[in-house]
Symmetry: C2
Subunit: 438 residues, 2 copies
C-alpha cells in the first residue's frame, strides 16, 4: 500500500487520463552524501519511472560540501561579496546533478541534468537568499518526453541579468516545489533525514508522534518556528499552487507526512504540534520618549535591517512621567548583526538604556482555532507554571500560541505541553484513498 | 626591466593612446591550489592594474580538483556520459573564479567573475574536448570600464543549445588566448609551474636552456610533441590572431618565454629544442590485401576513432606475393581504446596478424629548415647510433625531425641530441625593446 503511493500512477481526472503522472523527488545533502547514496536515489527514481510515472529529481549539494566551499571564502574575507558567494556555492549542486544523472545511466536509465541557468530558474537579484520568480518548463518537458529522468540542481537560479543566485538554506526544497508547481506535478516528494513532521521533536520528547498529514498553514507556522523540515518559502509556494508535498525519510520506505490543503487531510486534528526556537534574546529599550508611532518607528527600522522581531511589548509609564519601555524578541544571531545600529537608534528614541536577556527559547503550539479558544493559552501557561517554568512572554494568534521561557527549560516545556495537550493521541486516521485528487 | 614588461602600459601606437593597455593573466591549477596562492595571484593582478593596465584573469581549477571530481564519476560508470562529465568538471573553475574575485576584493580591489555561459564562450558540442567558436566580449568590457578586474573561468564554455562544455586538458590556456584575441589584448601571460619553454626538459638534460622567445610555429610542434607547457589549440589561436604569449613561472618574477610571430623574435635561433613523447607503441598489420587506397582506408578508419597515427609505413611484398605490411605509431592509451575496433578492421584488410611493439619513445628536434637540410637528420641518426641507440623510425618535415627509440633510451637520446646540436648555445639576445608592438 505504501509503495503504491510513490510508484503507481497518481491522479485520475478525465482530463489527465492520457498524460503520465508526474512525480518530483527532492533529495537533500545527506541523501547524496556519497556515491553509494547517489546510486540509491538513482534506483528510487528509476523504480518510480518504471512504475509508469514521469520523474523529475531535484538534488542538493553533497552533505557538508556547501559549508566547505563557503569556508574557503571566509578565509579570504569576513564578509565576502554575495554575488561571488553564490557562484561558489552553486557548484555544490552542479556536482550532484552530474553524478546523479550518471548514476541513473549506470543503472540503465536515461537522464539529463539541468542547472539553474539552463532551465532557467529565474530569481530576483537578492544574492544568497534569492526568491524564485518563475521556472521555464520547456527543457524538462522535452527531457521527459524523450523518456529521460530530468535531474534539476536545487538551490540555484539566475537573475534576469544571468548572474548566478542561490535561494538560501533549504533552497532545494523551494526549487522542488516551484518545479512541481510549474509542471503541475501530482506529488512533490521531499526525502530528508527525518521521517516526517512530528508533534514534537522525538529527541526532546520521546512520545512525539509522526503526523500523517498537516495543512499548509500549520506547516508554515511550524517551519517558521524552527522545525527545520522544510524551507518556509517552499511551503508558501506549495500552498499558493496547491502542490501536495510528501516529506519522507531517505532511509526507509515508510510513509512520511503529507502536506496538503485542509480538505485533503488524512486525519482530523486540531493541534498539530510543538516547535521550539532556541537562542532567542529579549531586548528592552527603557525610557524612550512617549510619542505616537513609536512602535512603527521601531519595526520600520528593524525591517530595514531585515530583522523580524516578535513578542513586541510597549508599556507606557505613569501619567506624570510619560516614558515608554519597549521590549521584543529576536534570534541571537540577528541581534549580533543589528546591535550597533540598534544602539544608535536607541538614541533617536531618547531611550536611556538597552537591556538584553539572552539564552531564551520560544516554545510554540501550532494548531487551528487557538485564539478563539482562550482556554488553550490558559492551560498552556498553567501547566508550565505548575512545573516551575517561568513564562516571560506570550503571543497568541489563530494558528499558534508561543511562550517565552528560559533556554534551559525549553526541552522540559516541550514535554510538558506535549502531554498537557495529548498530542501523541487525538488522531483519527482516514483511508489513504482520500488522498488521491478527486 | 622585467617588471616593466608585466606592469607598465604596453603598446604605444597613436591609435591606442587613449586606451589603457590590456593584459590577460592565466593561472593554472598549481597557482590556485590553495587560498594562500589565490591571494598571491590576486596581488599580482592588482599590481598590474595599479600600474595602469586593464586586467583580465583566467583561472583553472584548484590543482587536483578536476581529477577528484572525475574520479567520483568513474565510480559510477566506466565510460560516463560526456555531457554530464562536463557539467561535473566545470564546477572546478567555478569555485576558483569566485574565490579569486573574492581574493581581489579582500586586497582592496574590484572584481567580478564570469563563467563560460555568462560571457558566453560559445563552443561546438564536442563534450570534454570542445573547440571555442567565439567569445562575447561585452560583459568583460563592461567590467573593465567599471574599474573591475574580470575573472574568467578557464576550460569551460557552452554550446549553442546552452549545454555546458569543456575544452580538454590545458583548456584554460585556450580560454586565455581566445579572450586575448577577442579583446585585442597587448599580452597574454600564462603563469605555470615551469619557468618557460626549454630547449630540453631540464630534469632530463641539465644543460637544457630556457628560450627567450619562440615562434608560434615551432611552439606548435613542441606542444604537439608532448612539451606540456601549453595546450596546442591555444597556440593555434594565438598564431591566427597574432596574440603575443608570455609563458612564465607563477613562483618567480623571472622573464619566461615569449611566444610571438617570427618577426618579433628576441633571438635568432634555428633550432628551438627537443621534445619527447613517451609511451608510444608501433602497430604492424601484416599481410594485408594489396589494394589501392589501403593507407587511406586505414587513416580514415583511425580518424573515425579520433586517433592520430604517425610514422606510418606501407611496404609491399614481392611481385609474386603481393601482400602489404603497414606499420604506424600511436600513444599506448589510444591503442588501448582503439584495439578492439582495430582488430576487427584488420579482418577487413585481410591482414593475417597484428604485431604491437610497446614502450617506445618519439624524440623530436624542433627548428626551421630541417627538411631542406638533410645533413641534420643524418647527424641525428649518426650521433644516436654511435652511442648504441637504435633508431627504429624517422620522420622529417620542415619544422621537426622525429625518431623512434626504445623507451628506456629516450632520456639518453635527448641528452645526446642536445649536445650534438649545441642547443644550450646558439642564441643571440636582442634588446627587449624589440618586443613592444611597433
Amino acid at each position: 500500500m505504501k509503495a503504491a503511493i510513490t510508484t503507481t500512477p497518481i491522479g485520475g481526472s478525465p482530463f489527465q487520463s492520457r498524460r503520465r503522472p508526474l512525480v518530483i523527488k527532492k533529495f537533500g545533502g545527506t541523501s547524496v552524501a556519497n556515491i553509494e547514496r547517489i546510486r540509491r536515489i538513482a534506483r528510487l527514481a528509476l523504480e518510480a519511472q518504471r512504475a509508469g510515472n514521469d520523474v523529475v529529481v531535484v538534488v542538493s549539494a553533497m552533505g557538508g560540501e556547501t559549508d566547505r566551499l563557503l569556508k574557503l571564502a571566509y578565509q579570504l574575507l569576513p564578509v565576502p561579496d554575495s554575488r561571488e558567494m553564490d557562484v561558489l556555492a552553486a557548484t555544490g549542486e552542479q556536482v550532484t546533478v552530474a553524478l546523479t544523472a550518471l548514476a541513473i545511466q549506470a543503472e540503465g536509465g536515461k537522464a539529463a541534468s539541468f542547472l539553474g541557468h539552463q532551465l532557467p530558474v529565474i530569481t530576483d537579484s537578492s544574492f544568497t537568499r534569492a526568491r524564485i520568480q518563475c521556472v521555464e518548463q520547456g527543457p524538462i518537458r522535452e527531457a521527459l518526453a524523450g523518456g529521460q529522468i530530468a535531474v534539476v540542481a536545487g538551490f540555484q537560479g539566475v537573475d534576469p541579468k544571468n548572474n548566478i543566485t542561490t535561494l538560501g538554506r533549504g533552497g532545494s526544497d523551494t526549487t522542488a516545489v516551484a518545479v512541481a508547481a510549474t509542471l503541475g506535478a501530482d506529488i512533490c516528494e521531499i526525502y530528508t533525514d527525518v521521517e516526517g513532521v512530528f508533534t514534537a521533536d522525538p529527541r526532546v520528547c520521546p512520545s512525539g508522534l509522526k503526523l500523517k498529514s498537516i495543512p499548509y498553514e500549520e506547516m508554515l507556522e511550524l517551519a517558521s518556528l524552527g522545525a527545520k523540515v522544510l524551507q518556509v518559502r517552499s511551503v508558501e509556494i506549495a500552498m499558493k499552487y496547491d502542490v501536495p508535498i510528501h516529506v519522507r525519510s531517505s532511509f526507509t520506505e515508510e510513509e512520511g507526512t503529507r502536506i496538503v490543503s485542509r480538505d485533503k487531510m488524512l486525519e482530523s486534528r486540531r493541534l498539530m504540534g510543538l516547535a521550539c526556537e532556541r537562542n532567542q534574546v529579549r531586548v528592552e529599550l527603557i525610557g524612550a520618549e512617549c510619542r505616537p508611532g513609536l512602535v512603527a518607528e521601531l519595526t520600520d527600522f528593524m525591517a530595514e535591517l531585515n530583522v523580524s522581531v516578535d513578542m513586541l511589548c510597549h508599556s507606557r509609564g505613569a501619567l506624570e512621567n510619560p516614558r515608554a519601555d519597549i521590549s521584543f524578541t529576536l534570534p541571537e544571531g540577528e541581534l549580533r548583526r543589528a546591535q550597533p545600529e540598534l544602539e544608535h537608534f536607541m538614541g533617536r528614541l531618547g531611550a536611556s538604556s538597552m537591556q538584553v536577556s539572552s539564552d531564551l527559547a520560544k516554545v510554540s503550539l501550532v494548531g487551528i482555532g487557538l485564539r478563539s479558544d482562550p482556554g488553550i493559552a490558559a492551560r498552556l501557561c498553567r501547566s508550565l507554571t505548575e512545573q516551575g517554568i517561568h513564562v516571560s512572554g506570550l503571543s497568541v494568534n489563530e494558528l499558534r500560541i508561543s511562550c517565552l521561557v528560559e533556554g534551559d527549560a525549553a526541552d522540559q516545556a516541550v514535554c510538558i505541553l506535549h502531554e498537557t495537550f495529548e498530542l501523541a493521541g487525538e488522531t483519527r486516521v482516514e483511508p489513504l484513498a482520500s488522498l488521491s485528487p478527486a
